[in-house]
């Protein structure tokens, strides 16, 4: 279970989120600037101004009342940002093994994400879709407690979208890791997530099973 009770000042509003996420994949839905990336980065430990409490199962990442604030390197959170943020000076193989070597897991990830032909290439030579699949492999290599995907399909063309969605589905089936998937696209949420949370201007507006949330969103227009 992922428990979040968070307050985070941003440039235009204060993000206030109180959630208990119990499903395997949760979609965070909201328009650009709603606070999705801020939430994702706060969970990853990249927002020092975050206050409140964040815990994944038994591991407490942040608990202001108890003076706990785990550093990003101690949280074991797999983060996949919009552009993948691959290290440009390292080959695909070295990007994936940045957090450590594990031949068996490496082989499994490369196979699942279908990136074997890419492993000796440099990030600058990859397409947007290839970059995202490598970034997912890199994030999963360290056996994360949770996988955070921040609009991984933004800027990827339609044909590649289906391929990445398929990759994420395979990850979901083959790897035992909870996921939070930020997107502004309801159909991506429907394709991947068991539950969905709608955030607008830093506040949670809806939370429930994905189909229910999307139905309510449609009624609201």
């Amino acid at each position: 279970m992922i428990a979040i009770d968070l307050e985070l000042p941003t440039a235009s509003f204060v993000l206030r989120v109180e959630l208990e996420l119990r499903e395997r994949v949760t979609a965070i839905l909201g328009p650009s600037g709603a606070g999705k990336t801020s939430l994702i980065e706060a969970i990853a430990g990249l927002r020092p101004l975050a206050r409140g409490r964040i815990a994944v199962d038994e591991t407490v990442f942040l608990d202001r009342a108890r003076g706990i604030r785990l550093a990003p390197e101690s949280r074991r959170v797999g983060l996949v940002p919009q552009d993948g943020a691959l290290f440009p000076h390292l080959s695909v193989r070295k990007n994936i093994t940045f957090a450590g070597e594990d031949d068996e897991r490496f082989e499994r990830l490369v196979r699942t994400l279908d990136i074997l032909p890419l492993i000796d290439r440099m990030p600058a030579t990859l397409s947007g879709g290839e970059r995202q699949r490598v970034a997912i492999a890199r994030a999963l290599m360290m056996r994360p407690r949770i996988l955070l995907l921040d609009e991984p399909l933004a800027g990827v063309d339609l044909e590649l979208r289906d391929r990445i969605i398929e990759s994420i589905r395979r990850i979901r089936a083959d790897f035992d890791v909870p996921m939070i998937y930020a997107t502004h696209h309801p159909l991506e949420a429907l394709a991947l997530a068991d539950e969905a949370v709608v955030i607008e201007r830093g506040e949670v507006r809806m939370h429930g099973p994905t189909a229910d949330v999307l139905r309510r969103l449609k009624i609201r227009g």
């Binding site: 940002p81 943020a85 290290f87 940045f98 360290m142």
Partner: protein
């Protein structure tokens, strides 16, 4: 031409020492500036850029005040038995101070916000702040760092105003290329200044071309 070599070698040597001293300081300044709140960063940037915009003689005068036996640093040095003014050490101090802003500014850009994202990413992948810096930020930033080092070194080679004030122009002791050119022109021996000017051009041009080639090779290795 043969009499030019000692001055050339001395100048190169002093510029190398000044550049070597500046590297860790500029790196520290760039990292510190990156972690500061934006409003403090502007003040900090302005402070470290001062020698770039002040008249070099003004910087030289301030250094003279600071390092003289009545100055704060000069008193401490005198107690320790160290003489800086009008020695080769003064050449190093003047060239280091005057070339520092170029290096610090280049380092600030090279280690800027795009690097910050990637070092954050490295930290989520288990790297400590220092490991993220050495494994990610530094290797990515090196072309920018190298350019800054070369620019600062070239600036140190050509430093004149602050140097003449705190190191004097003592042939065989504190005279650099720029000072020797000045002396030749002042005493009406322009012909003797020409080889020094040509050597100055060759050294700086060669250094910049070499750094450009290294940067290009580095960029190609990422393709």
């Amino acid at each position: 031409m043969t009499t030019a070599w000692p001055v050339v070698l001395f100048t190169i040597q002093m510029a190398l020492v000044a550049t070597a001293i500046n590297i860790p300081l500029a790196l520290g300044a760039a990292v510190a500036a990156g972690r500061m709140p934006a409003r403090w960063r502007s003040v900090f940037d302005a402070l470290i850029s001062l020698p770039l915009v002040l008249p070099p003689t003004a910087v030289g005068f301030l250094l003279l005040e600071l390092l003289s036996r009545y100055g704060f640093v000069g008193r401490l040095l005198e107690r320790a038995g160290i003489q800086v003014l009008f020695t080769p050490a003064a050449v190093v101090v003047a060239t280091a101070v005057m070339s520092f802003p170029l290096m610090a500014r280049a380092f600030r850009i090279a280690l800027g916000s795009s690097q910050r994202r990637l070092t954050d990413m490295a930290r989520t992948l288990g790297a400590s702040p220092s490991a993220a810096f050495f494994r990610v930020a530094l290797p990515i930033a090196w072309p920018g760092l190298l350019s800054g080092i070369v620019l600062a070194w070239c600036r140190a080679i050509g430093e004149f105003g602050a140097t003449i004030l705190i190191a004097g122009n003592i042939p065989g002791r504190t005279q650099t290329l720029a000072l020797a050119i000045y002396q030749h022109v002042q005493t009406g021996r322009e012909r003797e200044a020409v080889p020094l000017i040509l050597l100055s051009i060759a050294i700086s041009f060669g250094a910049i071309i070499a750094s450009e080639l290294l940067v290009r090779r580095g960029a190609e290795s990422r393709q």
